[in-house]
């Protein structure tokens, strides 16, 4: 998936003053921009730019669950489909699900099932679609963060939003939110997703090599970052749904806005 032939092996991921290749500090997120309600047909949608990642998320439902034998008489299913566009990576990805996408879809769906009030919608399905348009490491975190905004945009009852972020280890140091080069040449990557109000961790994966104290530091970095991301998610929803005084006045007078 990643083309690594153009980057020398002895690349220095962190310089002597603790700056990373893209100029960030070790505990710094890439720039994030979230927009809610970007698609017409979907019941809810969101778009996120996270560094060089560009990800769309859409939600349909609760709607009748297909195939029917999957229907749960007691609660709604939460089904997620994470998909990468063929042009989203440097070497074209074959269209359709591969093993990686299937796994990410599964754990992301499970993360959302933890916050959706599924018992309110028996026999239905809440379908979440995450489309990675341009990838630069951290797409599942960007996708989950956007999908959570899309769920709220769709009006699906939830206990809270889900905020997601990754931390890892580069050049022997714990760092927040690895980009593609850092992911390729780093030592560990650990994506997580959290319910910000309660601190419950609803997704956690890790690959690479971390000592216990490094893991603690990584989680602390991710947790702090998730709280910032949570604020950005709420801000995106406010921008979409806030009613200004002028609009309220017009509505009061029965003027169509």
């Amino acid at each position: 998936m990643e083309d690594i032939e153009h980057i020398p092996k002895e690349i220095q991921l962190v310089d002597d003053s603790g700056r990373r290749l893209d100029g960030r500090a070790l505990d710094e997120l890439r720039p994030i921009r979230i927009e809610a309600g970007v698609l017409k047909r979907a019941d809810g949608s969101a778009y996120i730019e996270w560094g060089d990642n560009r990800v769309l998320a859409a939600v349909y439902g609760p709607r009748e669950a297909h195939p029917r034998h999957l229907q749960d008489p007691a609660r709604a299913l939460v089904q997620c489909r994470y998909n990468m566009a063929p042009f989203s990576v440097s070497d074209r990805k074959r269209p359709g699900p591969d093993r990686r996408s299937v796994e990410i879809s599964k754990v992301a769906g499970e993360a959302f099932a933890a916050v959706v009030f599924t018992e309110q919608f028996p026999r239905t399905s809440v379908d979440i679609f995450i489309e990675v348009l341009q990838a630069d490491a951290g797409t599942r975190c960007a996708g989950i963060t956007a999908a959570s905004v899309a769920l709220a945009d769709a009006g699906v009852p939830m206990r809270d939003l889900v905020a997601s972020c990754a931390s890892g280890k580069i050049a022997g140091q714990v760092a927040l939110d690895l980009n593609k080069e850092e992911d390729n040449f780093g030592d560990a990557d650990c994506p997580m997703a959290v319910v910000p109000r309660t601190g419950e961790i609803v997704l956690l994966q890790m690959d690479g090599h971390l000592m216990e104290d490094e893991f603690d530091r990584a989680m602390k970095l991710s947790m702090n970052a998730a709280m910032k991301i949570y604020e950005m998610q709420k801000e995106a929803l406010r921008r979409r749904y806030v009613v200004t005084d002028a609009e309220a006045l017009l509505e009061e007078r029965g003027v169509d806005t």
């Binding site: 153009h6 698609l39 017409k40 047909r41 979907a42 949608s45 060089d52 560009r54 769309l56 859409a58 349909y60 709607r63 489909r81 998909n83 566009a85 063929p86 042009f87 989203s88 990576v89 440097s90 070497d91 074209r92 269209p95 359709g96 699900p97 379908d127 679609f129 489309e131 348009l133 341009q134 990838a135």
Partner: protein, 257 residues
């Protein structure tokens, strides 16, 4: 293209309006929706464009690599077009292998590009019989609000027009992909006895017949595709062709800009 039901009321409303020369969204019969093109939308693709035709939203990426030519065309590059109707784009689209609708869409767009010799395949030969440029056009439908054929073909031409042949595969500098022609498709829908251009979703769903005409910058016809179970008279076909030529000129200017 869709199995969604349209209420009888809506159907009659549209039919009645069209019979009196009006449309549900206020357009004239020969009026196309607003087209906006964002070129170079995806950094990881060698060429890309997001085309919005009204609320229909299509992202096209061109991935370019090198490889062996087909044995029967040793001096020609290779062009492959695929389309994904991802379930994010409409409640009627489902995951899974491409269905006939997606295959028809990709083939109609491909034919418009190929038959017009938009890209001179002979210029894509690097070493005869051994090494040629390989172009993958991937059409990613994000929001389906009618007339995917035209939105996809505008997105595809726009993406090709800004595509670069990557120097990292051959040495030297990135070269712009040479384009020789500018084919533009225009789709008409026949509803009872009336014809409208650039059908919206509801119009498309109740249409009896559909005709897509691709013309080049000289006004020559380069590709056609008739769809659905209704029929066109010869006069109607001629009317659609002449209107497609005229509308195509305006659209071509937007794409070339």
């Amino acid at each position: 293209m869709s199995s969604e039901v349209v209420s009888e009321l809506m159907r009659e409303h549209i039919v009645k309006l069209i019979a009196s020369g009006k449309r549900a969204d206020g357009r004239e019969p020969e009026e196309v929706r607003k087209l906006t093109i964002e070129k170079n939308y995806i950094k990881t693709a060698e060429g890309s464009a997001r085309a919005r035709l009204g609320n229909t939203d299509v992202l096209v990426g061109v991935k370019i690599s090198t490889g062996e030519p087909y044995p029967d065309t040793p001096n020609s590059g290779v062009l492959t077009t695929s389309a994904e109707l991802i379930p994010m784009a409409s409640p009627t689209f489902e995951s899974g292998p491409p269905r006939p609708e997606a295959i028809e869409l990709a083939r109609v767009v491909d034919r418009g590009i190929r038959e017009t010799k938009t890209v001179d395949m002979a210029k894509l030969c690097i070493v005869p019989g051994e090494k040629v440029w390989i172009l993958f056009i991937d059409i990613h439908v994000l929001d389906y609000d009618g007339n995917l054929f035209d939105a996809s073909s505008y997105g595809t031409l726009s993406a090709l027009s800004c595509a670069k042949l990557p120097a990292k595969l051959t040495g030297g500098e990135d070269q712009p992909l040479p384009l020789d022609h500018w084919p533009v498709s225009v789709t008409a829908a026949k509803i009872r006895r009336s014809i409208v251009f650039d059908p919206g979703l509801d119009e498309e769903r109740i249409a009896d017949a559909r005709l897509t005409v691709t013309t080049d910058e000289n006004g020559d016809i380069r590709a056609m595709q008739k769809g659905l179970s209704g029929s066109f008279s010869y006069d109607e076909v001629r009317y659609v062709i002449s209107t497609a030529r005229r509308l195509g000129n305006g659209i071509r200017e937007i794409i070339r800009a």
